[in-house]
Subunit: 418 residues, 2 copies
Amino acid sequence: MNIEKYVTDVCKKAQKASRILANQRPDDKNKALNAMADLILAERETIKAENKKDLDAGQKKGLSKAMLDRLELTDARIDGMAKGLREVAELTDPVGEILDNTIRPSGIEITKIRVPIGVIAIIYESRPNVTADAAGLCLKSGNAVILRGGSEAFHSNLVIANILRSALKNTGLPEDAVQFVETTDRKAVDHLLHAEEYIDVIIPRGGKGLIKKVATESRIPVLKHYDGICHTYIAEGADIDKAIAIAFNAKVQRPGVCNAMETLLINKEIAKDILPPMFLKLRKAGVEIRGCDEIIKLDPSAIPATEEDWNTEYLDLILSVKVVDNLEEAINFINEHSSHHSDAIVTEDHYEAAHFLQSIDSATVYVNASTRFTDGGEFGMGAEMGISTDKLHARGPVGLVELTSYKYMIRGNGTIRK
Amino acid sequence: MNIEKYVTDVCKKAQKASRILANQRPDDKNKALNAMADLILAERETIKAENKKDLDAGQKKGLSKAMLDRLELTDARIDGMAKGLREVAELTDPVGEILDNTIRPSGIEITKIRVPIGVIAIIYESRPNVTADAAGLCLKSGNAVILRGGSEAFHSNLVIANILRSALKNTGLPEDAVQFVETTDRKAVDHLLHAEEYIDVIIPRGGKGLIKKVATESRIPVLKHYDGICHTYIAEGADIDKAIAIAFNAKVQRPGVCNAMETLLINKEIAKDILPPMFLKLRKAGVEIRGCDEIIKLDPSAIPATEEDWNTEYLDLILSVKVVDNLEEAINFINEHSSHHSDAIVTEDHYEAAHFLQSIDSATVYVNASTRFTDGGEFGMGAEMGISTDKLHARGPVGLVELTSYKYMIRGNGTIRK
């Protein structure tokens, strides 16, 4: 197999399909999404058989129990894929929305209209259900998608992609609008990263190493987030009960996700009152507390935090805690150490709240709420493709709208420039 | 001079200034813009003296007359810079616009609000007036800017930047919001391209070589356009007078710019009627016609076009012309050969017009108008930073709005995720 030729061929077919897909009616795309869901359920046993090949190979390779669990397509997960596709069908179609319309003094009428981006490449290491989730979002937003999954889920991803393609074909849409890279050869990724003639955006989903590789090597625009180092600042004007509830929720409710809190800042005026009940509650839930010198003074059983702690995404039941003198110190600390994902203040003081919202340079900034709400579903976007910590194009949750671009349609009547 | 340390220092100061600038009131930014204009006029003689150093050095280096002309800051051009800054002050401030506001079932209120991007680096080879134009747009949109100009305009750029900085200081805004890289060492560019910790977007303005270097080497998002290979398709349903007027305007009115037409497609049914009067008019204006085989048959005095002609941005009085069988062939040809900047159809047929607008994958698509209208001023955006042929973030003219991002401000009342 000539990998370069193969990848170029996949890209060309995707670009061609994207131009057909861009002009489809919402109903036709929704019909295809529902047909995909139907076919996934109808082919449940085929999917499980292919998934078993990956599971067996994984066991032989000595994958951890957690990794094997992530890999497994149970009945519930297969149902989940079908349900996800039907939910995407229910969402508002973003394509064709008129964003602006003006008639200029020259006589031209300019209509700014939302259009699909074109061809989206997704490189993922995650669970095989991403194949269906990502393809569904791309189809709904009118984009062709090139999927490159991890080698350990190869058979599972491939069978799902082929089912999705069949559903496209059965409903009269171009099957090349969904393509899976049918090789585990790593060179395929390198060729994708350099296919700027065909691919409009790359979305890497996986570990930091993958994301860094994609961002470094590719000239194609990338939608990504590296880290979720999220902060909560308990201000002098905080309500102590709310503060404890929010901090506890942000750290404990699901510590392994990017919108969980990693660092807690506490105003020195409130520290003495809030620390004992808060630390008691956190420790009961198994949270390890790492503190600055001031914290250690107030609570000698805390572990001293090192400089590294302030820049670490634990994704675990560990929390670094720091006492700060005032709002400005909190803002400066967060702007320096945050990954610009989600940061919160707890305060009853209107000025503090407004100044924090204005000054924190992050995708989502909270007052009196848990950072755990940064999520496409919680935002009302439906499913999401990830959360962007970049500032260009998409910031925060990447839903259907963020998978679109726009163009200007201009109408004249023999109009020329003077 | 330790170039890396110097560039990092410039970047850090820009980031710090950007956070102050992000919270300025529109009036205060406008006051600074007008102060910049005043000071440029007041320092006219200083600017001319510094400009003379560049002109003398350029003459010694043997720069062409055209290049020396581009370099010269005449009184009219100095007036133009001041006028441009005052015009930017008059534009609507994009920062702080509420893009969306919802209250979710969870109880959180989500406000999507327009914010500056942060730090913008502009690497330019162009005329020294870009220093003032670019800084003005960045200031108005609340962004700090790092300017890196061409070495041949070093003294001119530096004196303008210092004048702008003085005006910022005089009006109480951070002078580091405008910084000029005060070295012609090429290593400075390399360090800028890798300062992803501080710079949020890079805008290269200059030749294709510069743009390619920036896009290839930097991991920072880039706003750019490579080429302006613009097409006009004269459809079977075209009005011949309008078609000739539009084609003539698109090619001849200003051939050296990116929105000028480079390739003309003509439907075979209309070719025989339209070619003689159109070619006559174009040739009278000095346009060289390069044609496909069909064109040569119809007009043997045309020069045979090579494959390369269909992919060339002439920026000159040269036009490649091709006969096509139908609308679909025109659409496919344009989608393949266009640089996705500006493409037009001339037709009176509603179906043809709608299908063309829908199917052409370019930033601006025209019906019955000259491609020369793709321009921030003509679009009503005021000044522009360039025209993007990318599909992410900004497509088409890059004005103030395109120099912004957004963030989500979220308000709860002790709200936690269930």
